[in-house]
């Protein structure tokens, strides 16, 4: 199903949590809403489900306005952050609930529950109660319960945030596979950028109730539109500068540590104020263009973490190569970075 958001705004007691949100979700897409806590992403999801009403704007399912349709009639499945599995029902009863509501024949119910439990790999757990399941299993029951009724749209509200780190990574792949296999258009809310980058077909970054950027994970990570996105989607360094020239091969800017060349999808004029964004792991101990003093070095296991300084400019760097001899505080090192790993952003 296609979902269209048209100028959605929402106020809670005079506080504006969503401002004029518009975008579209394509058929079968695994769509992500990513943003820091309090950005309005959960509210947006609850508006889609029908648990909240927008203060203005509307939502269209396949072109049809659903504003006046109550949650129970929207055919939208929802997986909650705390799973909301009913503790007084077995796995089977939980999953079958939605089917029984639709007065489906008993044999058909059993068949469909089995199928969906197969899909989430929980066959054989039918008679268990939620308290007898692990966190990951409960999560999959919640997914199965929503899937079994063939919703037109599936909503996930931070479904992995209650799991431990290792299980979370496992479940990312699980959920992605389940979504692809079922083919149901899905919206997934999270504040974890790694989750979003690794699972999403398409994502929207929200901040303070506004859309900051939309795009595919690769584009957003490599071509953030602004400082907020660059900083939110992964660790980065910012260096201010002024545009010297822009050509096919990139943008050359003048900064306090010297000339930097980077790339951008924007057009700049000479003299524009800009910011260069360089991710810590893109900085290497190569060349001799930029000289920095090591302020701090931290051994992190799989890499070394350095804090470098040159005058008022401070850079964070991750070295995965294991440079020897290991630079110590006070050492002077020379670093470099490949121009196509440097993103030039407008300084707003």
């Amino acid at each position: 199903m296609k979902v269209k958001f048209e100028n959605i705004s929402k106020n809670f007691d005079g506080v504006e949590v969503l401002r004029n949100i518009s975008f579209e979700i394509r058929e079968g897409e695994f769509f992500f809403l990513l943003g820091p806590s309090g950005c309005g992403k959960t509210t947006l999801l609850r508006i889609v489900a029908g648990f909240e009403k927008p203060s203005s704007g509307r939502i269209l399912f396949n072109g049809k306005d659903v504003s006046d349709i109550p949650p129970e009639k929207r055919k939208v499945g929802m997986v909650f952050q705390n799973y909301a599995i009913w503790p007084h029902m077995t796995v089977f009863e939980n999953v079958a609930y939605g089917l029984l509501l639709r007065k489906i024949e008993k044999s058909e119910v059993e068949k469909r529950v089995s199928e969906v439990l197969d899909l989430v790999q929980l066959r054989g757990y039918e008679k268990r109660y939620p308290s007898q399941l692990s966190g990951g299993q409960q999560q999959r029951v919640a997914v199965a319960r929503s899937l079994v009724v063939n919703p037109q749209l599936l909503l996930f509200d931070e479904p992995l945030s209650n799991l431990d780190a290792k299980l979370r990574i496992e479940m990312r792949n699980e959920l992605k596979k389940i979504q692809k296999r079922s083919g149901i258009t899905s919206i997934y809310v999270t504040h974890d950028q790694k989750e979003a980058l690794s699972m999403a077909d398409y994502l929207v970054i929200l901040n303070n109730g506004k859309i900051e950027q939309m795009g595919k994970p690769f584009d957003i990570y490599n071509f953030p539109k602004n400082k907020f996105v660059a900083g939110f989607i992964g660790e980065t360094n910012f260096i201010s500068g002024i545009v010297k020239e822009q050509s096919e091969s990139g943008v050359v800017i003048e900064t306090e540590i010297g000339e930097i060349t980077g790339i951008s999808r924007e057009r700049f004029n000479k003299g524009d104020k800009v910011i260069a964004s360089i991710r810590p792991h893109h900085i290497k101990f190569v060349g001799d263009q930029y000289k920095f003093k090591v302020e701090d070095s931290i051994f992190m296991g799989e890499y070394e973490y350095f804090v470098l300084s040159n005058g008022s400019c401070k850079l964070h760097m991750m070295d995965f190569e294991g440079k020897l001899p290991f630079p110590k505080s006070g050492d002077i090192v020379s670093i470099g970075f490949s121009p196509n790993k440097v993103v030039i952003l407008k300084d707003e």
Binding site: P71, E72, A84
Partner: protein, 559 residues
């Protein structure tokens, strides 16, 4: 959406109307009767209660009873509360539950046993004389029962104080004490500067209930023949309720005192309700109780429990004895009084009536409790906050006030209790215990994440279906616990029953006990046996309720 809002508003309107008719109106009626005389507002009746020497003494007595009861309950419960919060030891749980037992034993029945044991020719004096420790009987009940009333109220009400002090103390994060200790404060200073101020609001919440309960209790002084208290005076004025305004004025007096006590405690101590309750996690700091301390604490707790049980053991003995007079223990035992209960016309009717009234009032509470709990937690309808403050008020309303208000304001209407008291009895039982039900359901809704319901909506479940399949089963334990409490207390409600049930065929158990107790031939024994039956029912109900509610049980007795 608009339809939903409309229905909600209609329900809210009906609930408010119910409260207005059966809560506000009777009280307003009493006020009008005492201040609006011959078409004018007048305070001319008020001096009556102070000029009449009997009434003056009664007011004084009631104040003294309430004050001493509050003081004594505080003193008695402090050591056990401290023990409960600060120490751990084997069987602590058992001891803690036994400490609460007196709360469920009605003092009205206990008074019968108390009299038998502590009277001039009661078991205690006889025992002491036999042992040669005293030569003449001692007047333990003092001043025609004055001390007896205080003692019995204290033994009945100390668990309320205990629950509140324990709650207050255990809400104090032990790190607060530890911080003070770490910067060198002495143990006494810590208690004075940290523990005491933090525990005060909780303590006063309990003290207010104890004070008002003791101030307005009708049954206990009535059984002790201690007539010079406000509630007993009001009770005796009921017969000429239409000619004598003093009853109205006394009831107004009680209302004013109740309000004053609540206002004072709210304004002085309510404001300082420190935000310690909002904290999710308070670390326990229980020390293992050892040595002489352990011996002292535990023997004190056991002494307290046994002492509180004496009146009820007395009742048990009376109910089992065959002509008990002039001996320490009954000389002959018999079960015939229990047999009588099932033969005697009055007792059979009263048991039947009590079951009927209590069941009906419990149903009323279940219905109102779920509706109100749902509105308070799951909706944002206007008027919710008013409902919230309204619904807890009956907890503070003395039974005698409501009963008096009903009897006077509904006389000569189709609800006139002189003709058929059943509707008003059921409603008065219901309203007075409604706070327990609402609290219980409220707790259930609070624990129940709204996502549980939303998950059902998202699967296509409608409001009614979701409530039936998801919400109700998940809060059913709370509903059951609340219902048991409502039922149990309705079974042994004293003032409403004594005042509203005026014809024998409508008598509930408590009224039957009172009538039997005052009858000449052997009614005393049957009254005790009937009291035992009542207590058994109550004990069962509370035990089951406590089991279901667990720790939440204590919250039932706080304002």
């Amino acid at each position: 959406m608009n339809k939903k809002k409309f229905i909600l508003n209609v329900i809210l309107f009906l609930i408010f109307s119910f409260f207005f008719i059966f809560f506000v109106y009777p009280l307003v009626y009493v006020f009008i009767k005492s201040f609006y005389i011959n078409g004018k507002i007048s305070f001319s009746f008020f001096p009556i209660i102070f000029s009449n020497s009997v009434l003056r003494t009664s007011i004084l007595n009631s104040f003294e009873i309430a004050l001493f009861t509050t003081l004594l309950t505080t003193l008695l419960s402090l050591p056990v509360s401290y023990m409960s919060v600060k120490f751990s030891f084997r069987l602590k749980g058992v001891l803690q539950s036994f400490l609460l037992v007196p709360l469920i034993l009605p003092p009205f029945v206990g008074a019968i046993g108390m009299k038998k044991i502590f009277a001039r020719m009661g078991s205690l004096n006889l025992l002491l004389m036999k042992l040669g420790l005293i030569s003449a009987p001692i007047d333990w009940l003092g001043d025609g029962g004055f001390l007896g009333v205080i003692l019995l109220e204290t033994l009945h009400l100390y668990p309320i104080m205990y629950l509140n002090i324990v709650a207050a103390l255990s809400n104090i994060d032990p790190t607060m004490d530890e911080v003070a200790k770490s910067i060198g404060a002495s143990r006494f200073k810590i208690f004075k500067d940290i523990t005491l101020p933090l525990a005060m609001p909780g303590f006063f919440a309990g003290a207010v209930i104890v004070f008002i309960w003791a101030f307005t209790d009708l049954g206990t002084p009535l059984i002790f023949d201690f007539y010079k208290t406000i509630p007993v005076q009001i009770f005796h004025m009921l017969t000429d309720i239409n000619e004598n305004p003093a009853g109205y004025v006394l009831v107004v007096f009680i209302i004013i005192i109740t309000l004053l006590v609540f206002l004072i405690s709210k304004n002085f101590f309510g404001k300082k309700r420190y935000e310690i309750l909002s904290k999710g996690f308070v670390r326990k700091a229980e020390k293992e109780l050892k040595g002489i301390k352990k011996f002292l604490f535990i023997s004190y707790a056991i002494f307290l429990i046994s002492f509180a049980l004496i009146p009820h053991i007395g009742v048990l003995l009376v109910s089992l004895s065959k002509d008990w007079f002039g001996t320490i223990l009954p000389s002959h035992y018999t079960l015939s009084h229990f047999a009588t209960i099932f033969k005697n016309h009055l007792t059979i009717i009263s048991i039947k009536n009590s079951f009927l009234y209590s069941s009906l009032s419990t149903l009323l509470d279940i219905f109102l409790g779920i509706t109100i709990g749902y509105i308070l937690i799951r909706t944002k309808v206007k008027g919710r906050d008013i409902l919230d403050s309204f619904v807890m008020l009956p907890l503070a309303l003395p039974g005698i006030v409501l009963a008096f208000g009903y009897l006077s304001s509904f006389s000569k209407t189709f609800l006139d209790p002189r003709i058929n008291p059943v509707p008003l009895l059921v409603i008065s039982y219901g309203i007075r215990r409604l706070p327990y039900m609402v609290r219980s359901v409220y707790a259930g809704f609070q624990q129940l994440s709204k996502f549980m319901e939303e998950a059902s909506y998202s699967l296509g479940g409608g409001k009614v279906h979701t409530f039936r399949k998801i919400t109700f089963p998940l809060i059913s334990a709370n509903i059951l616990a609340g219902a048991l409490l409502c039922f149990a207390y309705a079974m042994l409600e004293v003032s409403d029953s004594l005042i509203l049930a005026l014809r024998e065929k409508f008598f509930p158990i408590t009224k039957a006990i009172y009538i039997l107790f005052n009858s000449v031939s052997g009614g005393f024994y049957v009254a005790s046996a009937l009291g035992m039956v009542g207590m058994l029912i109550l004990t069962f109900a509370i035990l089951i309720g406590g089991k279901i509610l667990g720790k939440k049980f204590g919250e039932m007795f706080r304002v």
